[in-house]
Amino acid sequence: MLLIGVGNEFRSDDAAGLITARMLFHRIGDKTQIIEMSGEGAALIEAWKNMSAVILIDAVSSGAPAGTIHRLDASTQNIPSDFFHYSSHAFGVAKAVELSRELKNLPPRFIIYGIEGKSFHAGTVLSSEVNKALPVIIDLIVKEIELFSSDN
């Protein structure tokens, strides 16, 4: 099991995935491999290609109210390319997932948690909506990991 927090810590709510990963590290870091990544597609595929299970957390810009938590099962559904906040490198999370699927190296269990962001402007402070969502998403992910462990 690999847990990946994705984001840019200098783009306000875009840091949500990274902050969640750091908080999870304090809670379950001794039991789960947790890494932070920028979201560059090639590096993402490289990180997950030999894993059996991945949970990826990133900020989302889908039009839902800020702080909304999304859960997508990438192993059974395609990820729309406009789901995530824009990538500054054209080849971000959604494309990496779909390319990895085509290359047949997408981990068989692949859950994406998205936190709907409010502001993606330059800054190092999360919006109150995203801040409120953090404990909720952390509990959800901890349960997800427990469920996965019991399945195995």
Binding site: A42, A43, E46, S81, Y86, S88, H89, E102
Partner: protein
């Protein structure tokens, strides 16, 4: 009560939207507008009042795909202003970092953005179905470039280890040597890439371009040299603004760069290759000869082959630098601020990037000018489209749209334009 509206047409972010408008009247092209979003104007304002030491980290934020280019142009400009010359192994490490960026940027463009155009796929994901091994090799190549950026820059996007005067931290020789096997594989994979992309079908299209690039006495250009062209430009970097100017055009938020004396010009891989073929290492020259790539090459669609040749160069240069590396005693040279004006040019993967800064005696930036390659190529992109559409008038709108997008991507203009944000509108009367 007076109403007040605040409207933001484009947010100041790195990613931009591109649009293309072509108007045809009586089978004649009467208008072509290519408009892309150019954020560096705002960065020039951000830089005012900041310390000279902050320029490489602030400007690196302009682009997620070529941050090293911004860092290199800014540190060279600052060092010029401060009367400092970074040489020896620190200079070599800068070239090595730049090689990492060239590898990852060129491979992204070749395989994931441009090759699908030539092979008739909507995107690389669909292309991967039929070319899985090529795409896997591309990802491995890109990773090898990323890893050089992580090692020397601290991370693959927006590196944080470059400073005016050198680096914050330099690697031990062993850390670099760990990358040699990968780089040798990458060089061979890049040679295979040259072969692969040379088999694509290229539209029969050439223009009499004025190519502009850096030229160095001994090296294929990355950070230093004189600015030269095939039509007579041969100037030191500080003379850039005497010969080149940015002009406002009504339809664009981005300024159009022109050579004052002649107008549009072409920067990027094709320009570098045509002006510096003799500076390429033997393996890269041979790779080009093996696929009969002409020198000079005036077909912009063949820039995809040139990018592959330049990837061979970047791998070869990285191997050379690592083999000759000796860890410097200090990661940077000490610098004291002084008032002055500095100029820097470097060769970003997509073309020449010019920076100019004025700093005061405390080292505070009082003025900044940044001319990115995309701004410089914008006018020539419009010129290409004008000629290309005129020549291919008989094609359906669908086919013409596809080819026009491909023609824009020849210039790898900016990341969002190179991907799926370009909207083409053809109006026929």
């Amino acid at each position: 009560m007076k109403s007040r509206t605040i409207k933001v047409d484009y947010l100041a972010r790195v990613e931009g939207e591109g649009g293309l408008f072509v108007k045809i009247k009586n089978r004649t092209v009467v208008d072509v507008i290519f408009n892309i979003f150019e954020p560096p104007r705002f960065f020039e304002a951000f830089l005012r009042g900041r310390n000279f030491t902050e320029a490489p980290d602030i400007t690196a934020r302009i682009c997620g795909i070529c941050p090293v280019a911004y860092q290199m142009s800014s540190v060279h400009a600052m060092e010029y202003a401060l009367g400092v010359k970074v040489d020896g192994q620190l200079r070599a490490l800068r070239r090595l970092l730049y090689c990492g960026e060239w590898i990852e940027s060129h491979i992204l463009h070749i395989y994931l953005l441009h090759a699908p155009d030539f092979l008739g796929y909507e995107d690389a994901i669909r292309m991967a179905k039929d070319y899985p091994d090529a795409v896997k090799n591309a990802l491995r190549l890109k990773k090898i470039g990323n890893e050089l950026m992580i090692l020397l820059g601290g991370r693959e996007i927006h590196p944080i280890n470059v400073k005016v005067g050198g680096f914050y931290k330099v690697p031990a020789k062993k850390e670099l040597e760990n990358h040699l096997d990968d780089l040798k594989w990458a060089r061979d994979a890049a040679i295979d890439t040259v072969k692969l992309v040379s088999t694509f079908n290229f539209p029969d299209f050439e223009q009499d371009y004025e190519f502009v690039a850096l030229r160095h006495p001994d090296e294929y250009p990355l950070c230093e040299g004189r600015l030269v062209s095939n039509k007579g430009v041969d100037i030191p970097i500080p003379d850039y603004e005497k010969h080149f100017e940015e002009r406002h055009v009504e339809h664009s938020t981005s300024l159009h760069s022109v050579i004052r004396a002649r107008g549009a010009y072409h920067v990027g891989p094709l320009a570098r290759y045509n002006l510096n073929f003799d500076r390429l290492p033997q393996s890269a020259q041979q790779a080009a000869r093996d696929v009969k790539l002409a020198t000079p090459c005036n077909n912009p669609f063949k820039s995809i082959i040139v990018r592959a040749v330049e990837t061979v160069f970047a791998c070869e240069e990285a191997i050379r630098i690592i083999n000759e590396y000796e860890m410097p005693e200090h990661p940077a040279i000490e610098i004291q601020p002084r008032a002055g004006v500095g100029y820097g040019c470097s060769e970003a993967p997509r073309g020449t990037l010019y920076h100019r800064y004025r700093i005061d005696d405390k080292g505070k930036i009082t003025d900044a000018k940044i001319v990115p390659p995309t701004s410089q190529n914008q006018k020539i992109i419009e010129s290409d489209l004008w000629e290309f559409v005129q020549k291919n008038m008989a094609l359906s709108n669908e086919k013409l749209t596809w080819l026009c997008e491909q023609a824009v991507r020849n210039y790898d203009p900016c990341i969002s334009c190179s991907c799926h944000f370009l909207k083409l509108h053809i109006e026929r009367e």
